[in-house]
Amino acid sequence: MSSATATAPNYELIQQDGLDTGLLEVSMGPHHPSTHGVFRMDVKLDGETVVDLSPVFGYLHRNHEKLAENMSYLGSMPFTDRLDYFNSMTNNWAYALAAEKLVEIEVPERAEYLRVIMAELTRLVNHLSLVGFFVNDLGALGTPLLYAFREREKILDLFEQASGARMMCNYFRFGGLRNDVPEGWLDRAREVVDRFPVFLDEYEKLLCENEIILSRTQGVGNLSRDLAISAGITGPMLRASGERYDLRKVDRYGIYDRFQFRVPYSDGDVGDCYDRFIVRMLEMRESIGILKQALDGIEHGPVLGNAPKVFKPKPAEVYGRVEAPKGELGFYLIADGTPKPYRYRVRPPSLINLTVLRDMCLGQKVADAVIILGSIDIVLGEVDR
């Protein structure tokens, strides 16, 4: 912490007689309990008001793209787990989707259903944890997070039974899935899904109309629809700003066209922290609806299509994207005829959603900057890659 004399652009210091005022520059992070990982915000403060903010990242830059360009296509599948480490299943799916565009592979029916089930369970895990951490940032230390993690464990058990790992599932393959789910898995999944609304009712009752949450989040961290669109914001953050855009409806990748579900969005032109919070709560309800339909519709069959033994695509450029819980996760691949990608690029929703942090934080209190960061829902593994 050090006092700084530099003034932020378009900002005039309030000078009082006999008082030497100045801006305070605070470096929040990289070790800070509210930064959701190793992320640093250089905040300039006038009293408690944020007058300038610059995000500093790169503390978790693990060379994901460079490593992937030096290994086989399938070899980087486990690395995609570690991008956004809450949602390994959707990361796998986005990468598999891109690679499946390189070579024409048919994905079997059962695999498509299981992909949807896994992706929606992942969405539940992500939104649960996010809400837990978000409320944690608001000062409700512990309890909401413990509630969220209690439910998360039930879903992680399902992942573990299917793939063998709790977090880093590495479950998807080009043309399907690595293995079928074990005997009785679908019944257990249905049990978890059926019980989930009970928990969600309780959680909503505790949080959604909580007076502290309302007063701390409403009108805080406003993001207009125009700015959100021009900054390339996607996911729940964009929908909270009033734009109805969901890749599950736009692209209809996989078999999302078979399911009935609604896309929650805010009906104003400006989204605040509360909108972003409530959109995620509503999305969990819709995910349960999709899960119920998918669990009803799934039938027996193979789970791996006619994927080639040696994955060596012809020169091509592809972009595969899915609606990850945080936004549009895309993989851009350039194949040059060798078993390794010539270029491997990730479009991380966390990083691109983070670009509007400064716009949302200017003029807010420093304690609110923490909430605004929490409401963006970043994971540093994906921001820095």
């Binding site: 990982g37 503390y59 693990r62 060379n63 460079k66 030096n70 570690r82 709790r166 977090m167 593994g381």
Partner: protein, 218 residues
């Protein structure tokens, strides 16, 4: 944890001890008492680096409940923490901050290197920006492998650490005798860390196939 029992080093026969215990006196070494208390209240630092941090948090939640072992008090400030769980990939940009945080922790302090990345760089070892093990800069007490390790493994590593704490000797252990241990903070030069390792805590493994310098140049 059991109650502090009598140290074998004290020359005290069983009848005397039994008599003393009847009178409400327990004879023990200060070491045993200190280590028992310390091992039962290890306060970890709230310090998440990457994926492993989520499993570290999970180990503190209701299902695994690290408070059964006395370590539920996660402190965000290094000045109140006893244990640093290096949970995740340490990049070259982050390594100086990790060492700096370690330096700020008061004695006695311990380190668990959680996950493959913190131990050796793990799956990202080939990366140009990844430190190949935090033990190059700070002494590590327990290595906890896995990618990421399960919360049960976190609890087991804590048990191992408690076992280690129970063997500490207050008279000779550097945690008690050497003052606050502080290690030089490496400098990130933009491409690499300077120095590449701290020779005080880590030496590169000897290569049995390496030829002496004179022969190689001759």
């Amino acid at each position: 944890m059991t109650t502090p029992n009598t140290s074998p080093g004290i020359d005290l026969d069983d009848t005397t001890r039994a008599e003393l215990e009847r009178a409400g006196v327990i004879v023990s070494k200060v070491d045993t008492l200190y280590n028992w208390a310390r091992g039962g209240s290890v306060w970890p630092l709230t310090f998440g680096l990457a994926c492993c941090a989520i499993e570290m948090i999970a180990s503190a939640t209701s299902r695994f409940d690290i408070s059964r072992f006395g370590s539920e008090v996660f402190r965000p400030t290094p000045r109140q923490a006893d244990l640093m769980i290096v949970s995740g990939t340490v990049t070259k940009k982050m390594a100086p901050q990790v060492v700096r945080i370690y330096n700020q922790m008061p004695e006695p302090k311990w380190v668990i290197a959680m996950g493959a990345c913190a131990i050796s760089g793990g799956p990202f070892k080939q990366g140009y920006n990844v430190l190949k093990g935090i033990d190059r800069y700070i002494p590590v007490d327990v290595y906890l492998p896995g990618c990421p390790p399960r919360p049960e493994a976190v609890l087991q590593s804590l048990n191992y650490l408690q076992e280690k704490i129970r063997t500490q000797d207050i008279q000779s252990d550097p945690a008690f005798t050497a003052g606050r241990r502080q290690y030089p903070v490496p400098e990130f030069t933009g491409t690499d860390l300077e120095p590449p390792y701290n020779p005080e805590v880590w030496q590169p493994p000897a290569n049995p196939n390496a030829q002496p310098l004179e022969e190689a140049t001759a």
